[in-house]
């Protein structure tokens, strides 16, 4: 499998522009819900999902816009969800923190840090028992690796040799706390290997390297060679939650961000494309986003009588 740069760029650009669109819309107060944006972190989901097929599934977190979009989640339904509309991907029930699109293989995301890691491992067990060669990707942050469920899931997945790729999006922060103030040693890859799980790390967010690593991992999963672990260093450019920048808060400096901004993967990959091709691709994405916002605006809110539906299957 070789990486299709056009496809990767399409994902990168889509995520970037959707997030920027949300930033623009947010002050209107139409999105009455917290948003945890992926601005700056697009490369991880875009790179990893380039290795996936439609029947593969991803589990993510409240910071889930990127994996939703990279896996092919419906954009109209996502935008409508942010607006709290009945046409939203979860009918206005989940909002930004709980995006889901089962048809695209996007499983419900969770606002409890780490909780979907266990769900992902179980889903992988299910896929294997059901006899497919589809695989599962579990996206989570550096903070999630401190939760006990992470260690428990590594052991279970390795013990049962499950087709799950664990992807740690290490942006060095949990809210405002640097990883060095939360973790005694940053030797994650080494630790994961003690479970008998092959593990690697991409330190520079190079989306093409992430894609290549992911392809190799996913191939191993499909062949039944047990779970894999991939740590991707990355950087969040906006505040933990919300549309704004937060350099003024004092917990991190703009200088720290500079190398990440300079090596921005959206810019980099855009420049690798032939300009006309790039323009066409971008125009198409812009069109989709504009249409999605219009769709969201025009969609109705759910009726009050809808409250009681879907509590039970």
């Amino acid at each position: 499998m070789t990486t299709d740069i056009r496809q990767v760029y399409r994902r990168l650009y889509l995520i970037r522009r959707v997030e920027e669109t949300i930033v623009d819309i947010y002050p209107t107060d139409k999105v009455k819900s917290p948003v945890h944006l992926s601005l700056g972190q697009e490369a991880v989901a875009a790179g990893v999902c380039s290795a996936l097929r439609p029947e593969d599934v991803v589990f993510g977190s409240y910071r889930g816009h990127a994996s939703y979009l990279a896996k092919g989640g419906n954009l109209n339904a996502m935008m409508a969800e942010l607006f709290g509309k009945a046409t939203g991907c979860t009918k206005g029930r989940g909002g930004s923190m709980h995006l889901a699109d089962a048809r695209a293989g996007v499983m419900p995301t969770s606002a409890i840090v780490g909780s979907t890691i266990a769900n992902a491992a179980g889903y992988a067990f299910g896929l294997r028992r059901l006899g497919t060669d589809a695989v599962v990707v579990s996206f989570f942050g550096d903070g999630a690796t401190e939760e006990g469920v992470f260690s428990e899931a590594l052991n279970f997945a390795a013990l049962k040799r499950l087709p799950v790729l664990f992807v740690c999006e290490n942006n060095s922060y949990a809210i405002h706390t640097h990883v060095s103030r939360r973790q005694s040693a940053q030797r994650l890859v080494e630790r994961v290997r003690t479970y008998g799980i092959a593990a690697s790390r991409v330190a520079d967010a190079d989306v093409l390297r992430i894609a290549t690593e992911a392809q190799e991992c996913v191939q191993a999963l499909r062949e039944g060679r047990g779970p894999r672990f991939l740590e991707c260093a990355t950087y969040r450019l906006r505040e933990h939650v919300g549309p704004g920048e937060d350099w003024d808060l004092g917990y991190r400096s703009r200088d720290e961000a500079l190398p990440w901004i300079q090596s921005d993967q959206v810019t980099r990959l855009g420049e690798m494309l032939e300009p006309r091709e790039r323009a066409a691709l971008e125009a198409a994405v812009e069109g989709e986003i504009t249409a999605a916002v219009a769709f969201a605006e025009e969609s109705p809110f759910p009726a009050a009588s809808d409250l009681q539906n879907d509590v039970f299957a």
């Binding site: 979860t90 409890i112 909780s115 979907t116 491992a121 889903y123 028992r129 469920v149 509590v311 299957a313």
Partner: protein
């Protein structure tokens, strides 16, 4: 025609598991020790041999992750039955049960049902102490998106477990260890019973006596004694605690004007509080109601038999309280009801 065949509750549970696994190969059973020589007090005996180690799966000691993994399996299309030999261990799984299993269907706008059964056993027997004898069903009743069932008879155990496995929602199946040895008629074929109407186990016009789980047989013993002193109880077993057959219970209370709920659990914010509150909401404005609750003492569970004897509710304490609700005072000479045989004769070592 329902064939007459007597089974213990533990065998009824095993039969339900085994028949459902036979019927649907998406069903799997997992938990600590499900395939070990003790086979969860016998309830999974033989299943591993029959269905293989991937469908009858011992697990690491990781309740949080394994509960989450069961949810993932359920989302993928399997139908896991996750077993815990003590309810108390569910405290490690609360995040996945309360925050994920109960909510995924709703949060996903109906995309993602979670057909999961959690079998959890209340550990009362003898000397189990504060961390191995709790009954925490009311915590689960509190959370929308979960169903909770606590059958008392072998028949209801088989029927409820069969229903639970086929239902597409997360269901907490509460067993009481002291009920495992009780026997009763259980059809060998398919039997299935979901939420609906509670069981009326005895008719009477003086008092409605609602028993939960292991308190059901104790209520029946109490009712028998009460009958000897002229008090006729209507004894109900809700079986399903959530959703609860509020109408069924209230219909009886409307007749008797008195309600006593006996739970093998603490009272505060317990199932007994819910049942009493539900009856009073429906009927309290139209008539006087004498209502009461009996359950665990408001302490952690002690280990010494000297204190266990006063910690637990029993036929005797139920009968006394029922007497008081009807006659306005405690029975003068107490009520001569023994400790039940299954408790008296229990031998360890666990």
């Amino acid at each position: 025609m329902i064939e007459e065949r007597s089974l213990s509750q533990i065998d009824a549970i095993r039969e339900a598991l085994s028949q459902e696994m036979e019927r649907d190969d998406r069903v799997l059973v997992l938990g600590l020790g499900v395939d070990d020589p003790k086979a969860i007090l016998g309830s999974t005996r033989g299943l591993a041999e029959r269905f293989g180690s991937e469908r009858v799966m011992d697990t690491p000691l990781s309740e949080d992750c394994m509960t989450g993994a069961c949810i993932g399996m359920a989302m993928a299309g399997l139908r896991p039955v996750h077993i815990h030999i003590r309810v108390d261990f569910l405290m490690l799984a609360m995040n996945q049960i309360v925050n994920v299993a109960a909510k995924s269907m709703y949060m996903s706008g109906g995309q993602q049902p979670v057909p999961l059964v959690v079998r959890a056993i209340i550990g009362r027997s003898w000397g189990q102490g504060a961390q191995h004898s709790q009954a925490l069903h009311s915590m689960f009743m509190h959370v929308p998106g979960l169903k909770v069932v606590a059958p008392s008879t072998p028949l209801d155990a088989k029927a409820a477990l069969t229903y639970a496995i086929r239902d597409d929602n997360p269901i907490i199946f509460i067993e009481h260890r002291m009920l495992h040895g009780f026997t009763g008629a259980v059809p060998s074929g398919e039997v299935l019973r979901g939420p609906g109407s509670c069981r009326v186990l005895r008719r009477g016009g003086d008092l409605t006596l609602v028993g939960i789980s292991y308190m059901v047989p104790e209520c029946l013993r109490a009712a028998e004694w009460l009958s000897t002193v002229g008090i006729e109880c209507e004894v109900l077993d809700p079986v399903w605690l959530s959703p609860l057959d509020v109408e069924g219970i209230n219909a009886s209370v409307a007749k008797t004007g008195r309600l006593l709920v006996a739970d093998n659990a603490w009272l505060e914010c317990g199932a007994s509080a819910e049942i009493v509150a539900g009856a009073c909401e429906a009927l309290g404005s139209t008539r006087r109601l004498a209502v009461g609750r009996v359950g665990f003492a408001a302490t952690p569970c002690p280990t010494t038999p000297a204190l266990e004897a006063v910690f637990y509710a029993s036929a005797a304490s139920i009968a006394s309280e029922a007497f008081r609700l009807v006659k306005g005072e405690l029975p003068e000479r107490g009520c001569d009801l023994d400790m039940p045989r299954e408790v008296r004769e229990f031998r360890g070592p666990f």
